[in-house]
Amino acid sequence: MTVAVEKPEPAQQVADTAPELKNPRRKVTRPMMVGAILVVWLVLFAVLRGKQTLTLAAADLTGLHRWFNDLNDSIGADRNSNPLFLYFFNEIRLVIDNLVTFVQDLISQPSGDRPLPQIGWLGVVGITGFVSWAVGNWRVALLAMAGFAFFGLQGLWQESMDTLALTLSAVFVALVFAIPLGVWAGLSDRFNRIITPFLDFMQTMPTFVYLAPLTLFFLIGPASAVIATVIYAAPPAIRITAHGIRSVPETTVEAADSMGATRWQSLLKVLLPMAKRTVVMGVNQTIMAALAMVTIAALIDAPGLGKTVMQALQTLDVGTAFNAGLAIVVMAIVLDRVTTASSTRAEQARNSTGRFLKWRRPLLGSGAVGVVVLIYLSHTYLWAAQFPGDGGTGTHITNAANSVTAWVQDNLSGITNAFRNTLTNGLLNPFQSLFTDSPWWLVGAALIGMAVVLGGWGTGVTTAVCVGLLVGTGLWSDAMTTLASTLVATVLVMVFGIALGVWMGRSTVVDRLLRPTLDAAQVMPPFVYLVPFLALFGPTRFTAIVAAVVYAVPVAIKITADGVRAVPETTVEAATAAGCNTWQIITKVQLPMARSALTLATNQGLIYVLSMVVVGGLVGAGALGYDVVAGFSQSELYGKGLAAGLAIVLLGVMFDRITQAAARRTSA
């Protein structure tokens, strides 16, 4: 769940940009230039308001959108005769379908003549405990077993196993591609440069855009769900593996070379073992990303917990949705802790006493025998195959969640409405009209100007390209509406992120209390809390902003906390000795020294907010999010939805490059 490692580039590129920074002719400071750009923008806005805004009505299309539609139709029309389908996509589909069905037969679905899967709950819990213990330690093994038993108590055993089956298959397929690609990107700078834009694209393109085409290519079924998940979940593993390979000290590799190791030997015996820990963190991130896709994949009939959430949403049944969402959270926490423990196990084992190591092998052996017995039992006997009880705990959770929601809705909606109206009318509406009512070239010029000031000429060129392409999508006005909401949400994310992050970074107790909540907020499907938010704030842009803040704030808090904690203790002590009070230490020492962490937090906060644009479209945010949802729902709007997805990617790339370049400058 620590996404901080996802963007490893800044550290390496500092060296490249450093010379440019030594440019001596800077007497005008950066804030002054930003201010100047804003003043010019505001003046021209007042004069030119409402001209050349490039608006497009909800049902209108441009030539590009129609072209996308035709493309989509023609692919669909010759699906059954095209050899590409017959011999390529169908084969891929068969392989993946068989893989998923195999895992499902094992743990979740009736297989063959059996009314139940091959391995029942007792066997699965046993395997989980054993594997967690073998790769991690006994503490995570207990946690894992308790977590899995909890699914049964919730009355969601089969749904959870379906989700697990799909997630494991998707992670497996993702890693088969991601690890080799990651190694390649780690070894070759050129390949890394080629693949990075593709990874950005895969991570920021809204899934809604490619769900419908995927079912055309790979049919409705597990294969499409797995591939949709892989597209989203593979990039972190590729990036982090590459980062791990790059972080191996060059001297070590040179030493291996000088001893006459071949390329393969130095890869297999030096690079991979030394990068192992980082690679496992990549696997961890891929698992988390795969779990984030559970609810969306349910839209194309992927079985499991996501379906429960989506179906409960149709009847606004928050309790049931929350219960299923909680199961996803528990699964994410279990898988996260197990993979994290496995990444640190080797070191811990080296540090622990020899006695334990001597015992480990026989203990593992007898554990394996025990697991085989459990599997046999759960295969044979009903009590071990089907989880006993009727999911009473789940009913309690459902009822509790329902009554909490009802209380909140009854008692808070007056206050929340006033709050929403103040913020929308006072901040969001004026800010948005600055973007949407200015002529497009003015906004574009301002954005490019900002990019040049904050990130340098290279970033300015990237931004100019993005602005040009945004105009090309035909959705300029919608993109500006989304941009305004995104920026407001990001400001809120940073306000909360810094406040809570500093608190968490300064106190280990707070950290320990807050962290599980943050983990839960990050993996709880947003669909679960949309209904209560809708009740509080109505279908408005504000609701979308609140949902995005809830989703993005944990990342910002975690990165800020890590940054604050990384400030050397001696520095803080020196400041204390010099008579600084707590407030001064925070504002004059810790925050300035954690500046690059703060920029990274802003970067990640923005990207996370942007990934909620489509969810926002479901609760009244309109603009690009709505365009994407509409494109997914109506064939005539497909092209427009695709264009809106591209616009979101462009906004993401633009933000990412500007904040990263700014981060490089501040840390230099």
Binding site: M310, Q314, G365, L377, H379, L382, L534, P539, L618, Q634
Partner: protein
């Protein structure tokens, strides 16, 4: 150390044996019970039923699937899909039937007349009504609001933070048929269409509005389970006449009453499956659907339990479908 190892293994073996001894019912034993009903069913085979995401459809699907499974012995695969993807599934063989289609002339053109992968299978008997609705308290407090001509009088009451100074007309899920933007323009109403983006958002808006006596007007439709919780009132628009909705941008009349119909894949229609016969004959009233939808949405019954409850009480209707 070898001794420990042996003791451990022996202990586990004993444990295993004990557990086995008190084992109880075996997995295979139960399968004969539930499997027997599917014994007579070699003919039907699998039946892939699309389930579009609204509760009324879920009710249709629950009943049809229940009958297909228990009275015809089919293996029913329900697939949760949006309309567009479900229709796409006709061509790929992944979907056999769509049970409640709302117009969708665009999809009919593409898949029935164009690709010829789908065919119509008659009406469901349900009448689909689309229109603008207000919460009951509002209709009671200001009865004249139920005529569109008076809407401008109240436009300022419907203002929200999203509607840019005009009255807000709330629209829901983008997959549903809507002419609202054109209607607002052509009826010269001082309103702006605001897209809530999902049915969930729309229902929650009406629910809050009724509870807190707020002013809300929005797109809604019948049959819908929510109407039995909050009986929204429909606003009268200029009456529908044949052809008044021919040009999308010029529409200034109410929505037609949709005769909801069933669509099946061309292959399924020719298959001779008893499930096709069932789908073709399936026909019930709005009340029937509302009853089952209420079992699912408000009484929280599972699809199967809801269907069983209705089928047990209406076997005569079911028998007519099975002829």
């Amino acid at each position: 150390m070898a001794r420990h190892w042996r003791t451990g293994a022996a202990g586990l073996a004993v444990l295993g044996l004990t557990l086995t001894a008190c084992g109880g019912a075996k997995v295979g034993d139960t399968s004969s019970g539930s499997g027997s009903s599917s014994g007579s069913s070699a003919k039907c085979g699998t039946f892939n039923l699309a389930v579009n995401p609204w509760v009324g459809y879920e009710a249709d699907a629950a009943v049809v699937a229940y009958i297909a499974q228990h009275q015809l012995g089919c293996t029913v695969n329900k697939k949760d899909l949006k309309e567009e993807i479900a229709w796409q599934g006709f061509g790929t063989g992944e979907v056999d039937a769509v049970l409640e289609n709302w117009g969708h002339d665009d999809l009919k053109k593409k898949y029935i007349t164009g690709q010829k992968t789908a065919v119509e299978a008659g009406q469901t008997g349900n009448k689909g009504i689309i229109g603008w609705y207000v919460p009951p308290w509002l209709a009671k407090a200001h009865p004249d609001i139920l005529n569109y001509k008076n809407l401008n009088k109240y436009a300022s009451e419907f203002k929200t933070s999203e509607s840019g100074g005009k009255g807000q007309l709330l629209d829901g899920d983008p997959s549903y048929v809507t002419n609202d933007a054109a209607l607002v323009k052509n009826l010269k109403l001082d309103f702006k269409v605001v897209y809530a983006g999902s049915e969930t958002a729309l229902i929650q808006a009406f629910r809050t509005a009724e509870k807190n006596k707020q002013w809300v007007i929005g797109y809604f439709y019948e049959p819908q389970w929510f109407l039995s919780e909050v009986a929204l009132k429909k606003v009268a628009l200029p009456a529908y006449t044949t052809g008044c909705d021919a040009v999308a941008s010029k529409i200034a009349c109410d929505y037609p009453v949709y005769d909801l119909d069933k669509i099946v894949s061309a292959k399924f229609a020719k298959s001779g499956s008893p499930a096709y016969n069932l789908v073709k004959n399936f026909n019930w009233t709005n009340e029937d659907q509302n009853t089952v939808a209420k079992y699912i949405a408000q009484d929280k019954l599972s699809d199967d339990a809801a269907a069983k409850k209705w089928v047990d009480a209406n076997q005569a209707k079911v028998d007519a479908w099975l002829k």
